[in-house]
Symmetry: C2
Subunit: 282 residues, 2 copies
């Protein structure tokens, strides 16, 4: 099986590692705009060979794992080149615009729109780890538009990598993921900003920070190159979540200003319900 | 050594566990308003005996680990009763009002104001764990007001429990801790609220949530009974941090609305500096 990984960072690199472990005949070719990342991916053993864009014509599987501002053009180019039996998977965090752009592509049936909810706050080939996808959710959008045989092929791969599959239309995906993923990143980045602005000249202060702060601000280490296009692509949904978040914070502030600590208590007690939900997430 | 732990929850219970491990002659007496917690603490082996408030008169060490709306009155009562050689330690998360209230107490020199930056999002005796304090920061306020011999005694205990000591005045403590701890809790609670409000009728949606969401929303599991008094006691500082946080979020929202994604990128890139700081926190 000839596999081409376009984007040999955290997502693509981790996928390559598991694929090699599960499919002994897989030969992994890597592509990346960043030549240094390609060399690193090769020396780390994530990929077997460095490839050129025109090589994908004999691919069995192409995985596109690059920022969402460039993935549409790349997926289109790949689809233009690949053969009838080739499966092309995109792993980006937004799906509506991509699915819309590809709906009339003559090779739409070779394409599968996926979003593995997996990752860390790190990026690049050095961030790739084995078993990143084990027990993680993989959202597949508009599965009915992918050829049946290629759906089967994709499911076999995802199953071997240990993923749980959820099916969803692209619009619902983008709306809900804004709440459970994109907003978390903004809340964390702005928390980091607020504290850094205040405390930047007092480094000792961070000795006071405990694991709670580390946990809430962890996502503020994330890659701006990955997240800027996500916020741009999913602008309307993200703005909606952000508005509601600001409103809730403003309401909480008002309760405190008015010394309504009974209601401050109730707000937190109601939100404790999140415990029940988080029990399902690792 | 006769040790009285007032409040046998996460903080007091964990302290008791380590104290018993490090001081073989320590006998631990427990007090708590919650009788069920007391029984639980005894059956879990956190405490040796259940005690009454009047028993503290023969204590060598009293640790007060209760919510900050009730700790001042309790510390005063304890100080009124204990002997000259007894060390009384409070572990609350706010310190200004407590230190102010005690400044003219005739036994002020028996008291040490501490804030161990340790804990989890869980509470109660069942949440107590060994080595909670190892490699954690312990902030001591106004150390010069504690008798020299009792300072020594406190430091010996904190060292055996593995804590790093930092000295600070109570006002600075409350100001900085609002940034690096209290604000994180509000940001997390309101994130949880925002997502729950939107998604409460669609439980499947939380299958989409990954470890990033779990991390940022973890503190929203925290105890309202502990956190409401903290926000109330530290109201002015917390409101200041909350105002700045809301301003930063509103600015980020405005950048997105104006499609200034170059600046969105820069905001995140600047905040990535938090990586350097977080390397020191576990």
């Amino acid at each position: 099986m000839k596999v081409y990984i376009i984007g040999v960072g955290l997502i693509g690199g981790s996928f390559a590692l598991d694929l090699k472990a599960e499919f002994e005949h897989a030969v992994i070719y890597g592509l990346d705009q960043n030549k240094q990342h390609l060399e690193e991916a090769k020396s780390l053993g994530l990929i077997d060979h460095i490839a050129n864009p025109e090589d994908v014509e004999d691919a069995d599987l192409v995985l596109v794992a690059i920022p969402v501002d460039v993935n549409i053009a790349v997926v289109k180019n790949v689809l233009d080149q690949v053969g009838e039996h080739c499966l092309v998977i995109d792993t980006g965090s937004t799906k509506s615009k991509l699915c819309k752009s590809l709906e009339d592509h003559p090779k739409r049936r070779n394409f599968l729109a996926a979003h593995p909810i997996a990752g860390t706050e790190f990026s690049g080939p050095g961030a790739a780890v084995k078993n990143l996808y084990r027990n993680k959710t993989n959202i597949i959008c508009e599965v009915e538009k992918t050829a049946f045989k290629l759906q089967e092929k994709a499911l076999e791969i995802f199953q071997k990598l240990g993923m749980r599959i959820r099916y969803m239309d692209a619009k619902s995906h983008d709306k809900h993921i804004a709440y459970v993923s994109h907003l978390s990143h903004i809340s964390s980045f702005m928390l980091g900003k607020t504290v850094l602005e205040k405390e930047k000249n007092e480094k000792d202060i961070f000795d006071m920070a405990g694991s709670g702060f580390a946990s809430t601000v962890r996502l503020a280490k994330s890659s701006p190159a990955m997240w800027t296009p996500i916020f741009q692509e999913n602008k309307d949904n993200v703005l909606e979540t952000l508005t509601e978040y600001i409103n809730n914070l403003t309401h909480f502030k008002k309760l405190m200003e008015e010394n309504d600590f009974g209601e401050v208590y109730s707000e937190m007690e109601r939100t404790n319900y999140i415990k029940t939900i988080l029990n399902g997430i690792h």
